[in-house]
């Protein structure tokens, strides 16, 4: 019984990590319709910001998190203005290629500054080890992840569903020319949305260090799981990403627990089957 709960919790918390890494993509890809494979690179950036602040400047881990978000958002906004803005209308393939180009370059830049070796950060004691609840041992850090994920979900849903901003983004995506002609400042809208999505990636990257570690390959590494979450969840749906991530995490962990020989096979199969029957994912916005 307690093993079952432990496995489920492991799965769920792993799912929450996936969610934190992918929710930003749900914003940039889902809402803005921009096939942003550079998402992982921004996550990596956030991760390195936290790593550098903790290890070199001696900041406490928690204090670095807002900065990982802000710094990534800021740099992403610059990238948006200089690069991405020009290819919103160039089709998926061009977007895939340009953003993959950014990932390639980010790999080299990260390798240059931080070396090819992987890094981790020293967590505060209260996030280390496990918390005992009855005879259940739950890793403290994973409990923390779940709490952050829930907070991010709530905040984003409030912001996007209950303000006009979400509708503005979708209007700008549907037809930027007309949206502009009707007075919406699409450049500002896109820049802000992109910064938000990438900032979330940065936060996710910072939070992922303890479990996935950080190295120059991080951007490539997380790309596929993150894309799986967003595509299954349904484009542009925060809630969909949340459920998809949770389901995927539980499915993956439980699947490996029960059928360890199948490895990642099950996840890919799961994705292909789901997308075949529901090409727009579970909660598609468009």
């Amino acid at each position: 019984m307690s093993t079952l709960i432990a496995v489920l919790f492991d799965g769920f918390s792993y799912g929450m990590l996936l969610f934190l890494l992918s929710v930003g993509l749900s914003v940039t890809l889902g809402l803005m319709n921009f096939t942003n494979l550079a998402h992982g690179a921004f996550a990596m950036l956030g991760g390195y910001v936290t790593y550098a602040l903790v290890e070199s400047a001696g900041w406490p881990f928690l204090a670095t998190l807002p900065l990982a978000f802000l710094a990534t958002a800021l740099i992403a906004a610059v990238f948006e203005a200089v690069l991405f803005r020009r290819i919103y209308k160039s089709g998926e393939l061009n977007q895939v290629l340009l953003t993959i180009g950014v990932v390639f370059a980010s790999y080299a830049v990260a390798a240059f500054f931080f070396g090819t070796v992987h890094h981790s950060v020293d967590l505060p004691d209260y996030l280390k080890g496990f918390v005992e609840i009855g005879d259940l041992k739950l890793p403290a850090y994973r409990i923390f992840l779940v709490i952050v994920a829930l907070a991010v979900t709530a905040g984003l849903i409030l912001f996007l569903e209950f303000t006009r901003f979400g509708a503005m983004v979708r209007a700008a995506v549907d037809n930027d020319k007309v949206a502009g002609g009707l007075g919406l400042n699409i450049n500002a809208i896109f820049a802000l949305t992109f910064a938000l999505g990438s900032g979330l990636a940065g936060l996710g990257g910072a939070l992922a260090i303890d479990i996935l570690f950080i190295d120059p390959n991080f951007g490539f590494h997380i790309l596929v799981p993150v894309l799986i979450v967003v595509s299954i969840g349904g484009l542009g749906s925060i809630w969909g990403s949340f459920l998809a991530a949770a389901a995927l995490g539980i499915f993956d962990v439980a699947g490996k627990f029960l059928f360890p020989d199948f490895g990642p096979f099950l996840i890919y199969l799961f994705m292909v089957v789901i997308l075949f029957f529901r090409p727009n994912g579970f909660f598609a916005r468009r």
């Binding site: 509708a167 209007a171 549907d174 007309v178 502009g180 002609g181 919406l184």
Partner: protein, 237 residues
């Protein structure tokens, strides 16, 4: 006569390296209605889009309340009071009818309720996504959406296309009222020359990107020879 609200001086514009408008000059004074007529492909939409800032601007100048705006970004022109209704409707497909209206709203006399009063059909379909509307409903929504921005001047690119005759009539009246009672300025491109000329004070005829005739709407309506020559209309038969 009031000061010109919008004035074009010797405007040359086009797409890429194709020049479509060449040496276009005219002015629209506050609270006036101008009809823009001409055959297919003469550059009527191009003219409106040039005013909005969507074409390649080559030379000349565009003045809004006396200020040059040809380098101003489109969304700022819209916020200055230019209200554009695109020819191809271009409804935001993934937004509901109501979101289409509220997303561009700016303060002023027009609000969702007034738009719904003008087009009751839209109120019935308020929860529909933009891409689930009939052609005519999209046309109504396109007009309503622009009204939500509370513009000082409406640039209507064939707004009556695809609307039922009775709606055309009502809308024509409503637009006429806006100009007459609410102080709205109007530039109207339409195929229905009779209706158009009835709703406007002045008319401009374009041919191959140049203005070839300019007259009071009343006079033009009576000038069958000119209409026939430039538009090929045989009114009255």
């Amino acid at each position: 006569m009031a000061e010109a609200l919008l004035e074009l001086r010797d405007v040359r514009a086009g797409y890429g390296d194709a020049v479509v408008l060449d040496g276009v000059s005219f002015s629209v004074s506050e609270n006036a209605g101008v009809a823009l007529l001409g055959r297919n492909g003469v550059g009527k939409s191009t003219l409106i889009q040039t005013v909005m800032g969507f074409t390649q601007f080559l030379s000349g100048s565009i003045l809004w309340r006396g200020r040059e705006i040809q380098t101003v970004k489109p969304h700022l022109r819209a916020r200055m009071g230019l209200g554009w209704v695109p020819q191809e409707r271009d409804i935001f497909r993934s937004l509901t009818v109501e979101e289409n209206l509220t997303v561009v709203a700016r303060p002023g006399p027009w609000d969702v309720k007034k738009v719904y009063d003008l087009f009751p059909r839209l109120k019935e379909r308020r929860e529909n996504k933009g891409n689930q509307l009939s052609g005519g409903e999209q046309q109504m929504l396109a007009i309503g959406r622009t009204l939500m921005t509370n513009p000082a001047m409406l640039l209507l690119d064939e707004p009556l296309e695809g609307l039922a005759p009775i709606i055309v009539e009502e809308l024509g009246d409503a637009i006429g009222r806006m100009v007459r009672e609410a102080g709205m300025t109007l530039m109207l491109v339409e195929q229905h020359a009779e209706v158009t000329l009835g709703m406007t004070d002045e008319a401009i005829i374009l041919e191959r990107g140049r203005i070839v005739h300019q007259a009071a709407s009343k006079d033009l309506l009576a000038d069958h020879a000119t209409l026939d020559r430039y538009i090929g209309l045989n009114i009255g038969d």
